[in-house]
Amino acid sequence: MSSFRLPKGGSIDRAKPLDFTFDGKPMQGFAGDTLASALLANGRQLVGRSFKYHRPRGILTAGAAEPNALVTIGEGGRTEANTRATLVELYSGLAAKSQNRWPSVDFDLGAVNSLLSPFLGAGFYYKTFMWPVAFWEKVYEPIIRKAAGLGRATYEPDPDSYEKWWAHCDLLVIGAGPAGLAAALTAGRAGARVILADEGFEPGGSLLSETALVGDRTAIDLLAHTLAELASLSNVRIFSRTTVFGWYDGNVFGALESVQKNTAVVDPNRPVERIWRIAAKHAILASGAEERPLVFGGNDTPGVMMAGAMRSYLNRQAIAPGKKTVIFTNDESGYRTATDLETAGLEVAAIVDARASGASSWSGRAPVFPGALVQDATGSKALTSVTVLKGGTPVTINADALAMSGGWSPIIHLACHRGAKPVWSDAKAAFLAPETLDGLTIAGSAAGVGSLEACLADGAGKATSALQALGFSSAAPAFALAADAATVAKPLWYVRGAKGKAFVDYQNDVHLKDLGLAVSEGYGHVELAKRYTTNGMATDQGKLSNINAIGILAEARKVSPADVGTTTFRPFYTPLSFGALTGASKGKHFQPVRKSPLHDWAKKNGAVFVETGLWYRSSWFPKTGETTWRESVDREVLNVRKNAGICDVSTLGKIEVFGKDAAEFLNRVYCNAFLKLPVGKARYGLMLREDGMIYDDGTTSRLSENHFFMTTTTAYAAGVMNHLEFCAQALWPDLDVQFASSTDQWAQIAVAGPKSRMILQTLVDEDISDAAFPFLGAKEVSLCGGTLTGRLFRISFSGELAYELAVPAGYGEAIADAIMEAGKPHGICPYGVEALGVMRIEKGHVTHSEINGTVIPSDLGFAKMVSATKPDFIGKAMLAREGMVADDRLSLVGVKPLDPATTFKTGSHILSDCATPSLENDQGYVSSSCYSPNLGSTIGLALVKHGPKRHGEHVTVWNDLKNEYTKAVLCSPVFFDPENGKLHG
């Protein structure tokens, strides 16, 4: 049925019918409809149920402030709950469902809450549900949670894509109504880079529903001409369907563009939503004004609507609000609605004007009742009649529609996102944004300007001054100055003596009495009242309700709204999807991937990869037939120790250090000596934090007098680089030292095992015999008969005779292949970080499992490395503190089970033998552990009180989480080849 759609009029395209469904029922609308207008056209007034009392609710507004018409649209992974029907551009195939009702929106059992309402007053839940204690989680909370909430979200992933985009402009204009258009046109003509953003699916704001003339042209005509000229200006960009949601520091604005929310068929090449970060030299906020609802009994009955919204539906979508309309107004705008209704041939039963004076001029047919009030609106699921208090006596008027206008509140939300507090103006009877805001000017009715001409002039004028400040001296206002004809009425916060519930916050069901209760219970502060009653905390964030709540609090507290003040305006202006905020960084693309130059080499050798920060590292190389990772790792370890192995260590951080003072610099950032490190030598270095804790470790080699090559751990590569730059630039700018990260330049390959020299010698042109190239040698070498130059280091993490060979990344795979080839006869195998881990634990070498930010060198047996002679190095001073020299510090030991058949895990705690488990008895913990195929037992490194003094002591390795209590013995952390015979082999 389409009786509510007038046969002619409006800007809808009747040639383009669009099919959609509501609660499964097929309906039809036209291009140019919003979901809300289409529902109205189909006679659907009752569209939702309220939060607490489940009252039937109809469409109240035509915009972002809508508290009632929240529906769920879309299916599966595209399901969107709590969607404002008033902002949804109708498209064919749209499927909408009502919310918070059971079994149906027309018959909702939840409505019994209405009968209980006396017991469900503000904050009732703070006063009860406390007994019995166990009942909260089990009984009360589940019931409350089920009742609460509005729509239901899907658990399915979102099939669509999102993105982010930066934009830069001289002037950002927020809102494309008369004020915004005038500002944009003025700036556009002056040649400034302009962005004009409006949340609507077509620009124009109130002009789109305006019937008044501007001079001699219609508003629509004015709009068309202005848009045409703006389109012709290459320096102006118009963003429709784009809501500016936040104003951030540095004059950056966040905006949400809905790109494909108006179609059922999504083009995968484009996002459905896109976030703009707009860096604007200046911005003009022309966001308009919000019409104030009036607070009277049953003001939430379906059929009651904001006067401006009713007018918008009538003029834009040719929707008749009903057959018989009553207007309840406190200012002029009610009359504009009345005029347009009568022009459209609809009956206006009465104009109830709260102002004693009544209208300045009214030439329409409808009777006007000056100084009268609507006390109650009645009707269960739709409005049937209105009780008007006229000269003190109630009269009942039958009507199926009621338009209300309590006056206007400027929309200053964004202007207050950066801490500015709104200021109450008695003259405007409204809260205004502060006059002076850096980078932002308010224009049009957002600045309290009333009439259309005045808004045009205001927008143009404000743009002119903003542009002049930006140096566009030529800027001239696009519209002439005009006086503001509009009058401002004394606000009417609520109607006394209503019988029905008089709602202030529709969506959260906060009514007049709740606010009264808040005041009498001591929650009268506007912020406390908000939190106690939840007024303004719904999805509309009180766009309609806050101002009335403030007025009501003011009266109850007998102060002015100025003294009550507003609650804090916070982003977002309207709610924002996680998807949009996330953009393209989701799923596997949550973070970028960083790949070693040997990634594909490892892959073709069958590596199993593991995420290590952003890197993927090869953890082991299973051979066919191996069923568990342990099998592979054991084999790799044994083979490296017996023959040789090759391992990708390219992810280690590598930093080239240049400069005359490079040596002096390194001497200051490492706790051990580096000044006299000879050219051609590598040295293990410990880097401390200024608080004395070990920060990172690695080997650093001197390639020439003023050129060092530093390696860091994979995890700390970036941090160490920042740290070095801080020391060089902020602490010691007088030193001549420069850094270049060369991590990605080199493929670094560890070749370890008794046969590693033999194998490498086949590739390296120079002699690398022990004599020619002893332990800790480091030099540039020529490879494969001079085809390539690399860097060779004789360093060992595995404890074997071992080398690290660095070659230009692009040749990494070729060289790795060559090494494998050369190693074949010697039984070489690739090994991963797991085997590396086993071998380093066997040797008692520490990693960040031990270097966890709370250990100092002596904790790990490095006391001797800390230079006593250096006058200064990072971390020196703090090592002297009592707590750092105290002997109860946890320090490094080895630990192994008494019975090799038993095992333990990292993270287990250490208890003295037979001690009762308690924090007091906690002796430390296992920091690393593994199965050692060489010792045929689990082994571990542990940090234990008095550790080194306790070798040989029996302890319990306590892992209560896994009910695993292992008898073990503390020992030296070096389990394998303590004399380092193999290392020097």
Binding site: N269, D600, S741, S742, A814
Partner: protein
Amino acid sequence: MVDFALVHRPALAGAKSGSFGAPATGNRITLAALPEGHVLQVLASKGSASLEELIRQIADGNKTAVRAYGPGQWFVVGDATLSPAEIAGKAALLSGKASIAEQSHGRIRIGMSGGSVEAALAKGTAVDLDRTKFPVGRSAMTLIGHISALITRTGDESFEVVVLRGFAESLWDELIQMSLEFGVDARATV
């Protein structure tokens, strides 16, 4: 020694090539892996006076070969591969005034061009790439999404992006993603 051929493996060898996104639009984007020639990171020694002139001398003459990205820091890039000896020669020229870090394998160059190339890049970087603000030859080290890279305008409708080798493939995918709505032809092999 073993006899073997020194095969070079390009960083983007595994990256995807082809045409993606919107069907032919006027403003298609072209994405191309550039030759892994030379990338030299030049770092001025403390107290060196302006070195621009000297540095131009170690470059290959191309008008966008020298790319400043901070005080006393440049990248010098070109298509030709340089031998260690050649690089040593250039280092000698700067000796005492600046150092050279070989990054020819550590940094990967990607060419990006087309009518909407500015728009596509603006999805990644906050740098205002407007032609008047960011003319040909201008460079900026910046974040593109989550990856930092050096952007250089090489022409009215063409840019070059220099990125860490390890991130090259990830950035490549992101650049394609950013270009989908315009349509993109990607060539990962030189």
